[in-house]
Amino acid sequence: MNNSPEEDIEAADITLSKKPELPLVWFLPIIALLVSAWLIYKSAAEKGAIITINFPTAEGLEVDKTKIRYLDVDIGKVTAISINDDLKTIQINAQMNSNATDYLKESTSFWVVKPQVGLGGISGLGTLLSGPYIELKPGSGKEQLHFTGLTVPPIMKSHMDGKQFILETNNLGSMRPGTPINFHGIPVGEVLSHKLSDEANAILLTIFIYAPYDQFVRKNSRFWIDSGVDLSASADGFKVRTGPLISLLSGGIAFRASAKDTPADIKPEHSLFQLYDTYDQSTQITYTNTLKYVMHFNGSVRGLTEGAPVQLRGIPIGRVTDISLELDKKTAEIHVPVIVELEPDRIESINDPTNVSDKDVMEQLIKKGLRAQLQTGSLVTGQLLIDLDFHPESKIVASDNHHSDYPEFPTIASSFEEFTHSAQIIMDKLAKLPLDKLTVEMNKTLASLQDTSKAATGMLNTANGTLATAKETLGNASGTMKSANQVLGNLEPGSTGYYEFHKMLQEFTQAASSLKQLTDYLEQHPESLIRGKDEGKDD
């Protein structure tokens, strides 16, 4: 046997084929371990805090399906829904991603996004298919893990460039969060919230104006309520003004910038503005330099309201600020002091001597005959206005009442008052007429007239009867006529009747001539009646 060489090879090869104890293959499980460890770590690291949110209802929310999103990025999902102990609200547990930790602050708000159809537009249409999701608005403050969800989405869903301002108004009207704010008809902002002022005498609206329009909110910018139809009746007549259609339906605020403002007048954030009720109010320029006067009018001031214009030759230079009723208990006299506010700045002055005050100028004008007079502004509404004009012939009639704090402005009776006065006189004269007597006489006349009328009625009845008889007679006459007609028909020329009638007439003529002869003879010989005809003599 030749075993030895094989054993030699074997002995030689044993050392050659020796391999390292730990093969490279063991790197594989290490890599696998690392990969899965990394995957698990990643998922564990992605999981952030578990938060709880209270909602009034779990409508549309589903465990493991409903996402929590911010700016349409998923940052968590609902893991459990349970009913709270108060049995009125529900609580959802949500697993947030680790990167969402920064958003979970005290003022962070959550709300459920559902499809919404409103006047302002349609939103959340995507949720029709995908089902609702919970949206988050990051807040500030301390970190927190328990939240109470909002029932309505907040207006400012995310941070936008712009500024917040405060508007002061007396009446909230139809304004609510989301009410649009227009600038020359462009929607440039919205109402964020409203609250009562600390003294509860005004409502403060927080509004947001988007950039770049926020730079037009300047010192003299005016805000007014632009909602619905603004129908105003004033001394100037009727006025109808409407805002954009959307404001017409859901209310709105508008503002405009003043041409006087420069970019240096841009108001800082949270500035307070007055919100005017109407466009007209917002257009009225407020003059700081005013002169107040009191006017006493003789007649009624019905139709004169606070705010009624005071005009000088038709141009408004002020307004009525107060109308009151005063009773002088000593003299039992009633006064109606009308306080007016004149704005001399409305009158442009020429040749202005600097040392003369407006008050002096006004006194000078009064001396020249400037008088106040009530005038009807609008015949339709009956509103009155105060017109100032020069009546140099009229005297300054000072009223006895000197209790007022303001200087008195002389007045004259209005043309309407004069008219009323003359009308009164006519009425008085009318009242003096002996109406009672006249009435009695009139009554009598009327009674006799009635009698006459009755008699006339009787006569008319009789006449009626007569007429009936006449009718009968006429009927008879008609019959007679008919017979006559017949007779005449018989007497037509050529007919037998006509011939006989003709013959008869001839005979009748002959008879008449013999009768004539007889009468002639009798005339000549009347004795023949007694003696008979003398036959000899006659021939």
């Binding site: 090869d13 093969p23 063991w26 990969v35 399906k65 995507g126």
Partner: protein
């Protein structure tokens, strides 16, 4: 009682490449073709063990991560393997659910456990039912490729269902891990030397 009379027991090694019979008991080079020969692929036990441990490591993410993300009308739903089976059961598709359960969970798990069992058996020289274990090995080696069913299905879905927001399927991280598990267990089964089961077995 004595060991089964194998070639090794009689002191022979057969060259894997050229079939030359060498009277040796340890690893050596074939005198004819110079390839490395050994009586048993003992070295491969390391490979098998490493592959199995890797498979175990990857089996965990394969089951806890979503295997695919299905977007339907803008709604994205991520499904793990178990979650997918639950959905199928909810939709009254129990046979398919059972199929997925068997192909995607039980078969890989059985493969892993089976190979582990074989490895342990070889390592600790347990006295077992050798015929049964051999049959198990054969089944594991055969069934391995069928576990790729899931991966094929997902890759087809990803390719076919791609309609943007209406319907879209994206493979998840678990798909990769699952594919790796299947491939690794296939290699593990391949690298295992079933003759090792028979060694140290007393008849």
């Amino acid at each position: 009682m004595k060991l089964i009379k194998t070639a090794l027991a009689q002191g022979f090694i057969r060259c894997h490449d050229c079939g030359y019979l060498i009277k040796s008991k340890v690893q050596c080079l074939c005198p004819i073709c110079k390839s490395s020969i050994s009586a048993r692929r003992h070295q491969n036990l390391h490979l098998t063990t490493a592959l199995i441990i890797s498979s175990f490591c990857l089996y965990i993410p394969a089951n806890i991560y979503p295997i695919m993300a299905v977007t339907e009308l803008g709604v994205t739903a991520r499904h793990t393997i178990a979650g997918g089976i639950m959905v199928l059961i909810q939709k009254d598709m129990v046979p398919i659910a059972i199929l997925v359960l068997v192909a995607s969970i039980l078969v890989p798990l059985m493969k892993l456990l089976g190979i582990t069992l074989l490895l342990l058996c070889v390592h600790y020289r347990w006295q077992v039912n050798v015929h049964l274990f051999t049959r198990m090995y054969r089944i594991i080696a055969f069934v391995g490729r069928w576990s790729m069913l899931d991966i094929f299905m997902i890759s087809i879905l990803v390719g076919l269902v791609n309609m943007g927001g209406v319907a879209n399927v994206i493979a998840g991280p678990a798909a990769t891990a699952f594919a790796a598990v299947v491939v690794l267990t296939m290699f593990a089964a391949k690298s295992f030397d079933p003759r090792l089961i028979w060694d140290h077995q007393l008849t």
